[in-house]
Symmetry: C2
Subunit: 132 residues, 2 copies
């Protein structure tokens, strides 16, 4: 019995399930191909900080649809690699202002060039009907 023999019924047309499968495939393709061992989420974080220097953690989390608390260990890791840093925000003693370090910008630049190609591969892999 191969996977192709399974009756998916109306399930294949349910939007939630479709999206779920598509996202899993996209994530998998990304992590497999990325030799710079950076989770896809970390790459997104670096990109957003680069585009929005001084952004705080809550806004960053919101823009990625992640919880604030989820952001904390991610930023801890990126900061321990010295790819970005938390600076105290002038005018709000609760918040941090996030900035990429020079090393962070360098890493982001190198990884970024590969992502364009990868997206094309993922799009191809999903097939035309799913991508559309």
């Amino acid at each position: 019995m191969s996977t192709d023999d399974i009756d998916l019924g109306g399930l294949v047309n349910m939007i939630g399930v479709e999206l779920r499968i598509a996202q899993i495939l996209a994530d998998k393709a990304f992590s497999v191909s990325q030799e710079a061992k950076m989770p896809s989420g970390h790459f997104t974080v670096l990109t957003l900080i680069n585009l929005n220097p001084g952004i705080n953690q809550s806004m960053l989390a919101k823009s990625m649809y992640l919880d604030r608390s989820t952001m904390v260990p991610i930023l801890d890791q990126l900061e321990s690699k010295a790819w970005m840093e938390r600076r105290k925000k002038p005018g709000d003693r609760r918040a941090y202002a996030l900035y990429l370090t020079p090393q962070g910008k360098k890493v982001l630049g190198e990884a970024g060039t590969r992502v364009g190609e990868l997206e094309a591969i993922v799009a191809e892999k999903m097939g035309p009907q799913k991508r559309d």
Copy 2:
């Protein structure tokens, strides 16, 4: 500073990120609206067993793009609710054959009627460009 003010750069066009956001919204809408407190994955499991009576755990996991090991606790829960059962498979002493119980079919039927409406709501919420 609202979320709308964040510069997403080319990120919005990256397929992986788009899918991720779409799926999160879909899942959230599903779980919020579902008064029968069943995670969306559990609903999918019941549907697939219903459509493929006697399917084994590995095939089920494969068809949902989940690991075999992930399936175990899900089935444990569904079985403890007496919504489906593991029967010994004749001819293969390693595998289980999965079947819905009468209660399981009843629950699935009730939940199923609501899902159609929900999918439409999710599609609406995402907006036409994202859905397409």
